[in-house]
Each structure stands twice: as C-alpha cells, then as structure tokens.
C-alpha cells in the first residue's frame, strides 16, 4: 500500500516555538500517517524534543497548528480538547524521571487509571508491558534502585500502558545497551504490525534507519529532509558500498587501486578518483557510488568477473543515512547532493 494512500492522523502545520529571541522550532510541517513509523533525526538542540512537547501540549506553539485525528476527522488541538485528542496517544518525553520511592506496579497502575484503562485488566496489563522490556522481576522494586537503562525501558512502557493507537517517543533508546536496543526495535516493529503509529526521535541513525518508514531530519528548528529511507538514500547520491575480501591483501594500496579501476565506471558519480578507500577499523574496502541498485549489481558483476575474492558485499543503510545526515546538517550541498527542499517536497512512496 503506497504511503500516500494511508490516512493522515497527525498533521503539524507551520509549528514555531520561540524562547525569547531563540527560535527552537521554525515553520515545522509534518504529516504522520496511520500505521507508519516516522523517525525524527537531528543533533542535540535541533528542536526534536520541543516539537514533541508541543504535540503533548507541554509547550504551547507560538505559531502553527497541530491537527489530530479523532472520530474520523482531523481536529485542531487546543487547550480545551487536548484531553480527548491526546487520550489515544502514548507519550515519552525526554529522559523519564520517576518518583524514586515508587514501584513500577504503583506508577503504571496510576497511569493506567488516569488513561481510563479498565481497572480489572490493569494488573495483567502491567505484567504484560513489563515483560515486553524484561522488567518483570522488578515490578515491585523501587524505581530509585533502577539503572538509567531500566528507567528508560519503564518510560517506554509507561507510554504503552493504556494501549494507545499512537506512540510519540522522544529518544526511547537512549541509555539502552545493544541487546535492549534490539529488543525495543523488535517491539516497535511488532507494535507497528498491530496497526500502531509511532513517531520517535533519536540521534541514533542506525536505530531509526532500521525501523522507520519515513525519516524526518531537523536542524536548527527547521525540517531539512523528510522522505522514505530509500528516497533519502537516493538523494544522498553518495552511498558507501562495503567490500570485504576473503583475505586481507599484503599491499592494501595496490588492491585499493585495483578495485578502484574496476568500480570507477559504474559508480554513477562525477568523481574520477578517490572512489575506493580502506577502512582500517573494519578492515574492509569502501566504495562510493550513487546508490542505484543497477550500479550496485554491475559493480558486483565486475568484481566477480575479475575474480576478486569477496565474502561480504553490502550497503549499510545507516551509513547512507549518516552521510546524508552529515551533509545536510553541515549544510554542505555539493553538486552530488540533491537540494534539501526537494527531499522534503518529494513524496515518492515506496
């Protein structure tokens, strides 16, 4: 199903928030469709949290509007209807701080009652959501004894406790170890499969690129890119292809030159040198190309034809995103990079 056929359930129009003379968010526009995961990427202080706080009405926008779907219609979010409109949204804003002397059972029970979850089902629901993040054994322990990662997990489940349709999560994976990050990624995908919509912010490119249907990049309060992962990769026009050889050559430079000669005609880039480099940390060669699948296939064919002994040939998605992210954030618009505005306007779908 193409993305643009899905119904819009949150629409942010020209959102602007100022703190004195500092503009934290400026004319921010974003449409969130039902059932998709949208990742909001940006450096520290870019305006991610401020945007989410405005949706949660923790901050009132100075300009702009927030429209949220309710009973089949998009309704303008105001102070009067916020309780109704935000009722089916679960929020996790900033690093969660809990009351230290309370236990997850007491806190989640309170939140569930506030959100109108059926009282009889609350104990079971609490056990379910805590099991999701592996905190079952900590259900009656005081939050003050929790690690930062455990508090973060509790923050995520506190947004989930009332089984909302929409989840708005600000840096949900911050402070989590790799295993926990993987588990939360899987959890988000499962929630998506249940029809839930997730809008999450992060500075962890890999986490976002792995699960998001569309990615929005924000910098200095402005949306500078918003599209599908695939289209952003295409827009980057400068993707790193990782090539791992069976054995590391003795003369790396010689092999690099050899690879470059093979690959150069098929990169789709205007560059005529420095296409291939060696990554000493990963002990792999990296080749730049335009991200087109046809070019990628041709490069592989040529390398195989020349009997290069390859054991791994891949394009890590996060790398592509990272390149684009850095280009956009740094404001470097080389001739190889598409204009950021074009990335926002282009709603090319999958």
């Amino acid at each position: 199903m193409p993305q643009n056929n899905k119904e819009i359930i949150i629409n942010l129009k020209n959102l602007t928030k100022r703190f004195g003379s500092f503009t934290a968010v400026s004319n921010f526009n974003l449409e969130i469709r039902k059932g998709e995961i949208i990742g909001l990427l940006g450096p520290n202080g870019a305006g991610k949290t401020t945007t989410m706080k405005m949706i949660a009405r923790l901050l009132n926008p100075d300009e702009g509007e927030i429209w949220i779907k309710d009973n089949g219609n998009l309704e303008l979010l105001t102070g009067k209807n916020m309780v109704t409109l935000l009722d089916h949204i679960g929020f996790l804003i900033e690093n969660p701080t809990f009351y230290e002397h309370m236990t997850p059972r007491k806190i989640l029970s309170y939140f569930a009652i506030l959100k109108g979850y059926p009282k009889k089902k609350i104990p079971k629901r609490i056990e379910e959501v805590l099991a999701l993040v592996g905190l079952t054994d900590w259900i009656d322990k005081k939050v003050g004894t929790f690690s930062k990662g455990m508090k973060q997990k509790l923050g995520v489940v506190s947004a989930l406790i009332h089984d909302p349709d929409i989840l708005i999560l600000d840096e949900p994976q911050t402070g989590l170890d790799p295993k926990a990050r993987r588990e939360t990624r899987e959890m988000f995908l499962k929630l998506k499969n249940q029809g839930k919509t997730i809008f999450l912010s992060s500075h962890l490119l890999y986490e976002v690129s792995e699960i998001s249907d569309r990615i929005a990049i924000i910098n200095q309060g402005k949306l500078i890119a918003f599209d599908t992962m695939k289209n952003l990769e295409m827009a980057s026009k400068d993707i790193k292809l990782q090539i791992q050889l069976m054995e590391l050559p003795v003369d790396i430079e010689k092999k690099r030159v050899e690879l470059e000669e093979i690959i150069l005609p098929y990169t789709g880039l205007k560059l005529k040198s420095k296409i291939v480099s060696f990554n000493p940390e990963l002990k792999i060669f990296e080749a730049r190309f335009n991200g087109e699948l046809t070019n990628q296939r041709k490069i592989l064919e040529e390398l195989t034809k020349k009997e290069i002994d390859i054991v791994n040939f891949s394009v890590p998605r996060a790398n592509a995103l990272e390149d684009l992210y850095i280009q956009l954030i740094a404001g470097v618009a080389t001739e190889e990079v598409a204009e950021p505005q074009a990335i926002i306007k282009g709603d090319r779908g999958d």
Binding site: L58, N95, T97, K106, Y110, I113, G116, E128, D163
Partner: protein, 303 residues
Amino acid sequence: MNIVKEETIESRMDKVPVGLKKSLTQVGATVTFEFKRNLKNMFISFGIAVGIYILSLVINLIQEGRGAESPASAGEYLTSYLGMIGFFILIIAVMFAGNIIALDYDKHTGNLIFPKITKGRLFLGRVIARYLLSALAVLVYYVLIGATALIKYGDLPIEILASLGWAMLYTFAVFALVAFFSSFLKKTSTTIVVSLVMMLMVFNLGTTILMMTGVTWEPLFILTYYANIITYSVGYSVAGVFVIGLPTERFLEGSIGPGVGGDGPTFMRWITPDVTGAIIGMIIYSVILIGAAYLFFRRRQQK
C-alpha cells in the same frame, strides 16, 4: 516479546469513564497515588510531631524540676505545648506542599504525568491528599498533648477541639502559601527557603513595623497573625490567673521609653483575631493562594 491484543480500541473505549466520572476517577486515583507517594513523609511528619512534643514535655519537666509552679489546669498546661504549633505547622506544610508543583518542573517528572491528566485535576488530587496528610500530622500532635494533659489532670477542656479546628484551618492557609510559591519557583529547595523566609522573617518584620509605627489596623493580612488564635482559643493568663476561651481584649497598648508607660511613642500589639475575622481571613488567604497557584500551574510550561 508477546503483545496480546485482546480487544479493539473501540470496545475498550466503551468502558472508559467519561465526563464527571472520569474527572472523579482521576482525582481519586491521584489522591490514592499521592498517599502512597508521600508515605515516607507522613512517617517523618509523625516523627516531627513526636519530637516537638518531647521537647515541650522536657521543657515542662525541667521547669517543674527547678521549682516552677505547675499549671493549675489542663487548659493552662495545654497552652505550654501550643507555643510551637505555628512553627510545627509551617514545617509540615513545607514538607507536603514544597514540591507539590515545583518538582514536576525541577526533576521533569511532569513529562510523564502530562498529558495523562489535566493540571486542574492533578492539582486538586494532590491538594486533597497532601492536606489530609498535613492535617493528620497536626492531629497526631494534638492527640499526644491531649493524652498527656488527660493523664496529668484527669480531664480535658473542650476548647482543645476549637484549637484543633483553628490549627486545621491555619494548616490549610500555610499549605496554600507554600503551594503558591511552588507553582512558579523553579526548584523545590527554593520554594522551601522562600516559604520559611516569608513566614519566619517577612511576616514578623511586618508585624513589628506595624507595631512600632503605631498603626491601628488589625494585621489580618499577615498570615502568621492567625496562628495566635490556635493557642488563645484554649485560654489565656491574666495576672497569673488562667481564663478559659478567647480573650475579650484583643490588643495591648504600650509605649516605648524609660519605665512602664514611658513618654516614648505608643505602640499597639494585636493578640489574636476574633472568630469571624479568623475564619474569613484564613479562608480568603487560602482561596486566593490556592487559586493563584492553580493559575500559575496552568500557565506554566515545561522548558
């Protein structure tokens, strides 16, 4: 990782309380949660009540040990324990109302609470729960001193109930003042310091200035003035005789200068408000401060 979807959102939402029922459910849940959250503070407040009681008891015992005449009646004996009631109430109010709002912004706990509940309902639930806990601590103190007087004298003046009533009303007024500061000050610690300075210094300074300048207004706008009725409602001493109930003369006149009744400027010291003035004054104080606290809280935004 199993997420069991047992029912549709629509079917679940049918059972969700709406309107007034939802408001009452949320306020009720907040009251219960606040009781649990402040359980530790409750025991500390009981500890403070016992501490102040023991301190007063020890002072009384030392005085009696040094040959001072024992109070002739239970009422007079009780007033010796009520000397520190104003300070005790202040400590209790600061303990329960100091972080009532400021904490949500100081430690960002508000990020989790909102927008699950409106600020109005949250504030109402918190005020109910925390005031009840404050009142409970005051009650514990009265039970202790009442029991002591009963053991010592075999009876208790009924006026102790009036004193308890005034203490409850005064507790709410002081609670409202602290909550007011908590609604706009950034940190809980700042709220506590400002509240203590206001109650222990600013109001007392105001009283002194009024007294020295010879102004004749009753200082009904000074919150600490209302604490006097808590003690005076039990009784007062005139020329060494303890009289039960509120004094008929509510202020003293004097002059500053050499000797009693000197030629210096006259001053007027108000002893206690009357019943009507105390009720109206404390209610007005409480309503204005709690109302202002709510309005500040409502407008306050998370940075």
